[in-house]
Amino acid sequence: VANEPSEGTPSRRPAEPVEDKELVLAELVSRVLDRGVVVAGDLTISVAGIDLIYLGLSLRLAASQTLLPRAHERGELPPLPNLSDDRPGDR
């Protein structure tokens, strides 16, 4: 899905490096998980309050983003996003 230009790849950079595609994929997945209408009271996207999908993507993101290679080495993993986002009833 993410390889189609109309669905997520950067539209103005024909030769994006791989890590940029991963960043865009992370942007997309985080949107599908963290945004959108919440109608149901319970969402099956996390285990024990930890969103596993986003955690995995965040780690990949940190690993692929060569700007800050040492942050991950030092164990400073990116914090989890605030999935609740102050919206009631989304957990």
Partner: protein, 229 residues
């Protein structure tokens, strides 16, 4: 199968095609709900979360967003034990959903992640902080970190304001999400009318050219996830 999985909401009259695949063998259908059409699939249980499942959900939402004049994406993982439970929840939020659907009509979401290479160099050159020798030192180091965090967030929000000003008249709305260290400076979401997409791209290029010290990664167009209530 009594369970129902909800993908998105569109105006009536723009239901899914017969071949649209979802998570299971049942076809995705359009369930009318007084002025709204709910794109649903009958599923025994909610799909397990994974990146693949997330993208499958997104594919159905994208289909709706492309075929209908307005589409309100629903977050992954919203499953109901039966249709009555779904109807109850939609009914409770109907005015809000109808207003949001009007707001995202004929519009797309574009993402803009801003990276600051200077921030990466600073971080790489940083000397590891020694273990604090006293309580006072410890509190000072905490204060230093808090101030640094606040300065970073201030920078992200100031940049977002600049972007919003630069895009005035082109975007309908902007969402701002400052990012944790290591993921970039800020992630922006823009709601762009389909008739403004070329101008949007031009202005982003222009902004990028004026800020060569930063790196911009664009995504989209997508269904307007960030602008759903």
């Amino acid at each position: 199968v009594n369970g129902v999985y909800l993908y998105c909401i569109t105006p009536p009259g723009y239901g899914p095609g017969p071949d649209l695949a979802g998570f299971g063998p049942e076809p995705i259908s359009g369930k009318p709900s007084i002025g709204l059409l709910l794109w649903v699939e009958r599923l025994q249980a909610c799909p397990d979360p994974s990146v693949e499942a997330t993208l499958r959900h997104h594919a159905v939402v994208t289909n709706a967003w492309r075929s209908a004049p307005a589409c309100l994406p629903v977050r992954f993982g919203q499953w109901f034990r039966d249709e009555a439970a779904l109807e109850d929840r939609v009914e409770a939020r109907r005015p809000e959903l109808e207003a949001a659907l009007r707001r995202v009509s004929e519009a797309s979401e574009h993402s803009l992640r801003v990276l600051d290479p200077a921030e990466g160099q600073e971080e790489t050159a940083e000397v590891p902080t020694p273990q604090p020798a006293s309580g006072r030192r410890y509190l000072e180091s905490v204060q230093h970190r808090v101030r640094r965090y606040e300065a970073r967030e201030h920078k992200a929000r100031a940049l977002a304001e600049q972007v919003e000003t630069h895009l005035k008249g082109v975007i309908r709305d902007q969402r701002v999400a400052p990012l944790p260290l290591g993921q970039g400076l800020v992630s922006l979401a823009h709601l762009v009318g389909k008739d403004h997409e070329e101008e949007y791209a031009r202005r982003i290029d222009d902004f990028q050219n004026r800020h060569a010290e930063l790196r911009f990664i664009r995504g989209g167009p997508w269904p307007p996830y960030s602008f759903a209530p």
